[in-house]
């Protein structure tokens, strides 16, 4: 079969195999890594125009970089989603002036190139598929084309999953434990009461503290939920 296994057949059959075996956003990230020869791949879904809808990743290191963008409220995912076009950074070590913090951390984690593709159909936007590679350099033309198709497939697949789910509920594949920063949103609720502010502003405060203390927003949130930290306590 190898002689007839061309690129498109490879992509199509890989997608077919993915679709046929309990597909989830995480296994699609794995598929991207395999097909495109990457270090990691992540999917971030947007909610209310922000980065909080949920993150899925091929591995813990990539998960950390996706979450970092959620902590910062900034990064290639958000840009790809906002402008609706691929955001391509072929050499992070060259130090792009955008996303200074994200870039530093990504390079520390051994990532040299990042490519983020918007997940959209027409004007309808869902999130972004981001590819991470430990080697600098642009994606090949074929790799870029495949990534566009994969982002499209991810979008179509997520919407199809949602289409086969009762209105008001979230598709079970998307509703994976740990994918959506439950504790962060709980902490935002708590901080909003502590400071008598809105939850949106409470999330900004959590982000600011994470950034100031060089901690993951998830860890700051865990402290709040476990009542080890209060935001109305001036001593902290």
């Amino acid at each position: 079969m190898t002689t007839t296994e061309g690129r498109w057949l490879r992509v199509a059959t890989a997608i077919g195999a993915w679709a046929g075996a309990d597909p989830t956003p995480i296994t699609l990230c794995d598929l991207c890594v395999d097909l495109l020869g990457l270090t990691g791949a992540g999917i971030t879904l947007m909610a209310d125009g922000g980065l909080g809808g949920g993150t899925f990743a091929s591995d813990p290191a990539t998960e950390a970089l996706e979450e970092l963008q959620f902590t910062l409220g900034d990064g290639p995912c958000r840009d790809a989603y906002e402008i609706g076009l691929p955001v391509l950074e072929a050499d992070l070590a060259e130090g792009p002036t955008r996303w200074v913090v994200f870039t530093g951390r990504a390079v520390d984690a051994g990532i040299q190139a990042v490519f983020s593709f918007p997940m959209r159909i027409g004007a309808a936007r869902v999130g972004a598929l981001t590819l991470y590679r430990d080697r600098a350099g642009a994606l090949s033309g074929e790799g870029h084309a495949d990534a566009l198709v994969l982002a499209e497939v991810a979008t179509v697949a997520l919407l199809a999953m949602q289409a086969y789910t009762p209105v008001g509920e979230l598709a079970k594949e998307i509703s994976i434990e740990g994918s959506y920063h439950a504790e962060v949103h709980q902490a935002a609720g708590m901080v909003s009461v502590q400071l008598d502010i809105g939850v949106g502003e409470a999330l900004v405060r959590l982000r600011a503290r994470g950034f100031a203390l060089d901690r993951r927003i998830r860890d700051v949130a865990a402290d709040v939920v476990a009542r080890r930290v209060r935001f109305d306590d001036q001593r902290v």
Partner: protein
């Protein structure tokens, strides 16, 4: 049988065409017809066809590369018997090397043999657990389907599925994205409300969730609506007191 290179070229070209359609408007019937014609060339088949299930679960002929294939597909849809129907119902490929041998289709088999198509294979087009349709391959000579042919056929069935989903999604993109966004937002609002209530009532977030759910049920309200009202501070003092003091 086409040469390996030709087959590879045809495949690349077909999938490239498919990829192109992913970014622009397209006629789904035209595209399925293209797929079905390409399938004939690639598999050296006499004819191929694609059938889709309608919302009532009845198969409809969407594309056929020849009049005979069209008739044979219609026959199956109308008489509720045949390999395509079996693939549609079971979600598994049905491979029949020779309809002259024993088979479960007493009405379909003689018709297909009469039409000069004595071997039929049907591949399901699936989304999750749902079979949306079938790709049907009619052969002029009895004989086995090689592994390579089966892979190509299944790839085409998947390609057809993606095409149909793409078509549906493009049509419903706004509605579906809206639903997805609402579901995501609602999940976040509930988490925020758990935190807000946990803080106000000085209980755990799990306990807060139980209270929100109990309150929503006893007031015949949606959990999301109660959560949103709490987070946005739109609950009356009385309601808030009841929530905070609620017995789980």
């Amino acid at each position: 049988m086409p040469t390996v290179a030709t087959r590879e070229e045809l495949l690349s070209d077909t999938f490239l065409q498919l990829a192109d359609t992913l970014v622009e408007d397209f006629d789904v019937v035209e595209l399925l017809s293209m797929l079905s014609e390409r399938c004939v060339e690639l598999l050296d088949a006499a004819a191929t066809g694609i059938m889709l299930g309608d919302p009532q679960g009845t198969l409809q002929v969407m594309a056929a590369s020849s009049a005979q294939a069209h008739v044979l597909e219609l026959f199956q849809a109308q008489n509720e018997e045949g390999p395509c129907l079996d693939a549609y119902r079971s979600g598994k490929p049905v491979v029949n090397e020779n309809l002259k041998n024993a088979n479960p289709w007493p009405h379909f088999a003689p018709m297909a043999i009469e039409a000069g198509l004595p071997s039929v294979h049907a591949f399901p087009m699936r989304v999750r657990d749902t079979v949306v349709g079938t790709l049907n391959i009619f052969m002029a000579e009895p004989g086995p389907l090689t592994d390579a042919d089966a892979v190509v056929a299944q790839a085409f069935a998947h390609a057809g599925t993606v095409t149909i989903l793409q078509h549906q999604s493009a049509r419903d993109a706004h509605r579906l994205t809206g639903q997805l966004q609402n579901a995501l937002n609602s999940r976040i609002t509930i988490e925020q409300a758990k935190g807000a209530l946990a803080e106000r009532a000085d209980v755990s977030t799990d306990e807060a969730f139980d209270r929100l759910r109990t309150y929503a049920r006893s007031n015949n309200a949606k959990l999301t609506d109660v959560a949103a009202a709490l987070v946005e501070r739109k609950l009356s003092a009385n309601d808030l007191a009841r929530l905070i003091g609620a017995v789980s």
